[in-house]
């Protein structure tokens, strides 16, 4: 019986690893994507995080984002890869899955006119990464650049007012 338990444990481990390795292939983030995210939120708060492999600061905090996502599994979180020459979609999947972000909505920047796509998201966003947009229940959008303060983010989610950070 011990052997069977061990086998089951090993299989469970393999299965968990498989599940963790899974993440949705990133969808292309084009000029309509931001509006689609806004329209699809159904009165719920949404967190949209822009990141890139070209940004060391982004990579450093991916695991913390993974923990945050796990602790707020009922929250819609979107991760948009904004590497301007196009990151390998498989690498995006892998990086997100490895850091516990396999369940977030994943996008990658469409090829082409980056300025126009960025303008469609926010006129004031200058392309710095990481960059995060918080859409409150009432549709109010607040933003921040740089590392996330996850305590504040949790408060924002829990706070009915979802006031600006």
């Amino acid at each position: 019986m011990n052997a069977v338990v061990r086998i089951a444990s090993v299989l469970m481990f393999v299965w968990c690893a498989c599940v963790q390795a899974l993440a949705e292939p990133p969808r292309t983030f084009d000029s309509a994507s931001w509006q689609t995210l806004l329209d699809g939120r159904k009165g719920q708060p949404v967190i949209v995080h822009f990141w890139g492999f070209s940004c060391g600061n982004c990579m450093v905090e991916l695991e913390d984002w993974g923990k945050f996502a796990a602790a707020h599994a009922d929250t819609t979180i979107a991760f948009v890869n904004w590497d301007r020459r196009g990151a390998d979609p498989k690498r995006i999947e892998k990086a997100l899955a490895k850091t516990g972000l396999g369940n977030v909505q994943s996008f990658s920047l469409a090829n082409g006119f980056e300025e126009k796509l960025r303008f469609a998201v926010d006129h004031d966003w200058m392309g710095e990464l990481p960059y995060t947009r918080l859409i409150a229940r009432d549709g109010t959008v607040t933003t921040f650049s740089g590392a996330a303060d996850f305590k504040s983010l949790s408060q924002w989610l829990g706070d009915g007012r979802q006031s600006q950070r």
Binding site: L22, P25, S54, K90, N111, F119, H123, G146
Partner: protein
């Protein structure tokens, strides 16, 4: 025991579902691969970045990155046509395609040319190279790494001093790796440099000019009329403030004191991907322009220094703030300071130009000198005796060299 066996069987059955789902990723990737494959040659038409420079004889030269290769060509007619390019050997890793990365070329005496560029790994650790020509760009030597014993070098910039020695500066991560080994924290990367051991010689071993620089932005190099290089870069000041600074090198080639350009108060762990630009006019004034992402200043700014960088004028905010102003570039020539930058109106990118005839104290109103309704490279300003030009690569229109008239 039967229950356990059933559980094990169920788990086994569950695993292949994951494999099937994972296979979808390959389909998702096809769009990107097709796009890249559509323009995979090393021709200028496939380039995403191109850097122009004038040779001492006034001829335009261009280096660009396309199809995974670096090419160099000259133009006898100011960019209308180009010679058959020289294409440098392929790098083992892909070329650095970060937002502020580009190949560059510099001209020295006696037909000498230096081209610098970098490849990078998946984590954007760069490997920078220098290729040299001693026959005016007809042929180039085998590219050499600019340094050894460093896990990453990016944003490399080479220039010839008036004596014909090459000066190369870049952002280096050797001290990041050393700190990590010792279990210590290290913010950002470092500003590194190397000189030729003699005019036309080989690069000496690298030295670190300053620890803790921002790791993701281009640096700017300009020369004083007396021949010493000045480097402007995004430094990390105490408290993690990523504001800009200059270091002026001494006549012995050593880095001098670091001076802050402005108090942007950029306390932010983000990659702006926008480095500064620096020019030095014949009267010795430093002209600096940069993108600020601070708590005090945010946007594109200009300032000048009349005391060798020790103090700078009050930063002047550039451009219409609703127009996503970015990528400023400054050049000083013939008693005029030129400042070009990108603006975006929601549909098209424009390159706007301002000029100053009094050393940066007052400026003309901005004037649009070029525009594009698709992706484009950063605007660069280059000069030869006959005038100053905007050097700009756009996706649809290709390479453009546009003469600039100073404005009153």
């Amino acid at each position: 025991m039967r229950t356990h066996l059933k559980l094990a069987a169920l788990l086994l059955l569950a695993a292949p579902v994951g494999v099937a789902k994972h296979a979808q990723a390959h389909d998702g990737a096809s769009h990107h691969h097709e796009t890249a494959a559509a323009c995979a040659s090393s021709e200028l038409a496939c380039a995403s970045v191109a850097t122009g420079a004038f040779a001492p004889d006034g001829k335009l030269w261009l280096t660009w990155s396309a199809g995974g290769r670096i090419s160099i060509a000259s133009s006898p007619d100011l960019g209308k046509t180009f010679s058959m390019p020289v294409t440098l050997p392929a790098t083992k890793l892909p070329l650095d395609d970060g937002p502020d990365a580009r190949p560059k070329l510099a001209f020295g005496p006696n037909d000498r040319v230096a081209v610098t560029y970098a490849s990078r790994d998946e984590k954007y650790n760069g490997h920078a190279f220098i290729a040299r020509s001693a026959d005016g760009g007809k042929t180039f030597s085998e590219p050499q790494p600019i340094t050894t014993d460093s896990p990453s070098q990016r944003f490399e910039t080479a220039a010839f001093d008036p004596n014909g020695r090459v000066f190369v500066a870049w952002i280096d991560k050797r001290n990041v790796a050393a700190a990590k080994k010792q279990g210590k924290k290290y913010a950002g990367a470092a500003l590194a440099y190397a000189w030729d051991d003699k005019p036309g010689g080989a690069l000496e071993a690298a030295s670190i000019a300053r620890d803790n620089s921002c790791e993701c932005c281009r640096i700017a190099v300009a020369f004083k009329s007396s021949g010493e290089p000045v480097v402007m870069f995004r430094n990390i000041f105490d408290g993690g403030i990523r504001d800009h600074a200059t270091i002026t090198f001494s006549d012995t080639g050593k880095p001098g004191q670091l001076y802050r350009v402005s108090e942007d108060d950029a306390k932010i762990d983000a990659c702006p991907h926008q480095g500064p630009s620096l020019a030095i006019s014949s009267d010795g004034a430093y002209h600096a322009t940069w993108f600020a992402l601070g708590r005090k200043l945010k946007g594109v700014y200009y300032a000048h220094s009349e005391d060798g960088g020790k103090t700078f004028s009050e930063p002047l905010r550039i451009g219409d703030q609703s127009a996503q102003i970015s990528r400023p570039y400054v050049l000083a020539a013939g008693g005029t300071v030129y400042l070009a930058y990108k603006s975006f109106d929601g549909e098209k990118t424009s390159i706007d130009l301002m000029t100053s005839h009094d050393g940066g104290r007052t400026w003309s109103k901005p004037r649009t000198v070029a525009s594009a309704a698709n992706a484009s490279d950063h605007p660069l300003l280059i000069a030869q005796q006959a005038g100053v030009y905007l050097s700009w690569l756009t996706m649809k229109e290709g390479y453009r060299l546009i003469p600039l008239e100073p404005q009153s």
